[in-house]
């Protein structure tokens, strides 16, 4: 559990730094990719309901810090998405990056809907996000999430293989 928490915090930190880096490279980068949703989805897939909700909440708050909107909107949406993804991953066997990518894309769409609703209720702002950019954002986030998931699975597999080989060599040497 601690490892999961540390991984999540590292993920949030990386998403934060990556977001800042992308913003430095392109001010429009936040329109086409959402690194915090990637963290929320990956954390939710690997956590229980509480971890998913708390992780979604914290990641959302971190996104609020850089989004420039009202603080709490992404936290609210992240909490809901974390729980939905966690509940969905219980029904599905999530083993491939493509699946995680699809979940992340759906999560981005859900997040857009929730935030649009909150903005409409709280700020009385009826502006809806541009569908094209929402699609781009969902797709890009899904791709990133799938790649990160696959990479992490590969890294975990390699690490596990290295550990197994190391234990075997230690036994032979002994």
């Amino acid at each position: 559990m601690l490892r999961q928490a540390v991984s999540f915090l590292v993920g949030v930190a990386l998403a934060f730094l990556g977001n800042l880096l992308l913003l430095r490279l392109s001010p429009d980068s936040s329109r086409w990719v959402d690194l915090f949703t990637v963290v929320i989805v990956l954390n939710a897939v690997a956590s229980g309901p509480a971890g998913a909700m708390i992780g979604g909440s914290l990641a959302g708050l971190a996104e609020d810090a850089v989004a420039g909107l009202v603080y709490g909107l992404h936290g609210f949406a992240g909490t809901l998405i974390g729980l939905l993804v966690q509940q969905g991953s219980r029904l599905l066997t999530v083993q491939h990056g493509v699946m995680v990518g699809g979940i992340a894309a759906l999560a981005v769409l859900a997040q857009e809907v929730v935030i649009a609703a909150l903005v409409r209720v709280l700020l009385a702002d009826a502006q809806t996000p541009e569908p094209m950019w929402v699609g781009v954002r969902a797709a890009a986030t899904g791709v990133v999430a799938g790649m990160v998931f696959a990479a992490s699975r590969r890294s975990v597999g390699r690490l596990a293989g290295w550990r197994r080989g190391r234990r075997r060599r230690m036994r032979l040497d002994g």
Binding site: P49, A50, M53, G60, V70, Y71, G75, F76, T79, L122
Partner: protein, 285 residues
């Protein structure tokens, strides 16, 4: 983690985020943030209820205080009303007196006749001696309340002073059967003697049968008796009948309503030298 705990955590997190967002969102219907606005709108009814309760208590306190105050005020006002009622009665008396005085001012006494106002303090209608007692005050001019001073009312002759003491005077009324006045018919200037009748009325004697006299004729003092000045109203002829001898039997209605007398005027008596008066002249009384 149980489902109920998960739901609790979800609600808490969502609520926390909503509150966090509401704190920052400006309220469109009021100053401050949305959270402040929502809080105020939620708290306002409670605050109003509490304020209403305090107001109610305050109103009850005020009502109790007012009740005490109103009792005291009521007692004070009742006393004041009583005082005012008395003052109103006194005022009415004053108004009546003022009316009488106005009438008095309009009264034109004979030239050179000083007048003293006197209150009627006692009047005797039942005795065969028809007299009344008047009070002119201790400061009445000397000589006015002397015997034989004429006494007149607003409407006409009342009588004469019989005697006086300390501002009081006994007055012989015109209707006393022992009273007599030199009189004349105003229309014809025919003179006679008006005197009290035994029944309390007034008759005019010594008018010859051939003289012209009619019911309704006004009778005034003739100024021939050495007591009464000329022209004071005595009464009105009510009936004229032929007498047994040479004179009419004339019944008069007095000009003065003796039942309503409350103030009279006393005139200074005519100062006819005694030596000029013959001993056998009947001057009345």
């Amino acid at each position: 983690m149980s489902g109920r705990a998960a739901w609790g955590l979800l609600v808490a997190l969502l609520l926390g985020h909503l509150i966090l967002a509401a704190v920052q969102v400006p309220d469109r219907r009021a100053e401050g943030s949305l959270l402040e606005g929502v809080s105020l709108r939620a708290i306002a009814p409670v605050a109003r209820a509490i304020a209403g309760g305090r107001s109610l208590v305050r109103r009850v306190e005020v009502a109790l205080a007012d009740r005490r105050s109103l009792r005291a005020q009521n007692r004070r006002l009742e006393a004041e009303v009583e005082t005012l009622r008395r003052q109103a009665l006194a005022q009415q008396d004053l108004e009546r007196e003022l009316a009488r005085l106005r009438s008095a001012v309009s009264y034109q006494p004979p030239a050179g006749q000083p007048v003293v106002l006197a209150d009627v303090v006692f009047i005797n209608h039942r005795s065969w001696l028809r007299t009344m007692i008047v009070h002119a005050g201790a400061d009445a001019p000397a000589g006015v309340l002397a015997p034989n001073s004429p006494v007149v009312g607003y409407e006409g002759l009342v009588g004469r002073v019989l005697r006086s003491a300390d501002g009081y005077a006994r007055v012989q009324l015109l209707t006393d059967r022992a009273a007599s006045v030199g009189a004349m018919i105003e229309r014809t200037r025919r003179q006679g003697i008006a005197r009290g009748a035994p029944d309390g009325g007034l008759v005019l004697d010594y008018l010859p049968l051939q003289s012209d006299v009619r019911p309704g004729d006004r009778v005034v003092t003739a100024g021939i008796d050495g007591i009464y000045p000329r022209g004071l109203a005595i009464g009105t002829v009510v009936s004229v009948r032929p007498g047994d001898e040479l004179f009419h039997q004339i019944e008069l209605s007095p000009a003065v309503d003796f039942g309503r007398l409350d103030q009279v005027f006393v005139l200074r008596p005519l100062e006819v030298p005694d030596e000029l008066l013959e001993d056998d002249v009947e001057t009345g009384g």
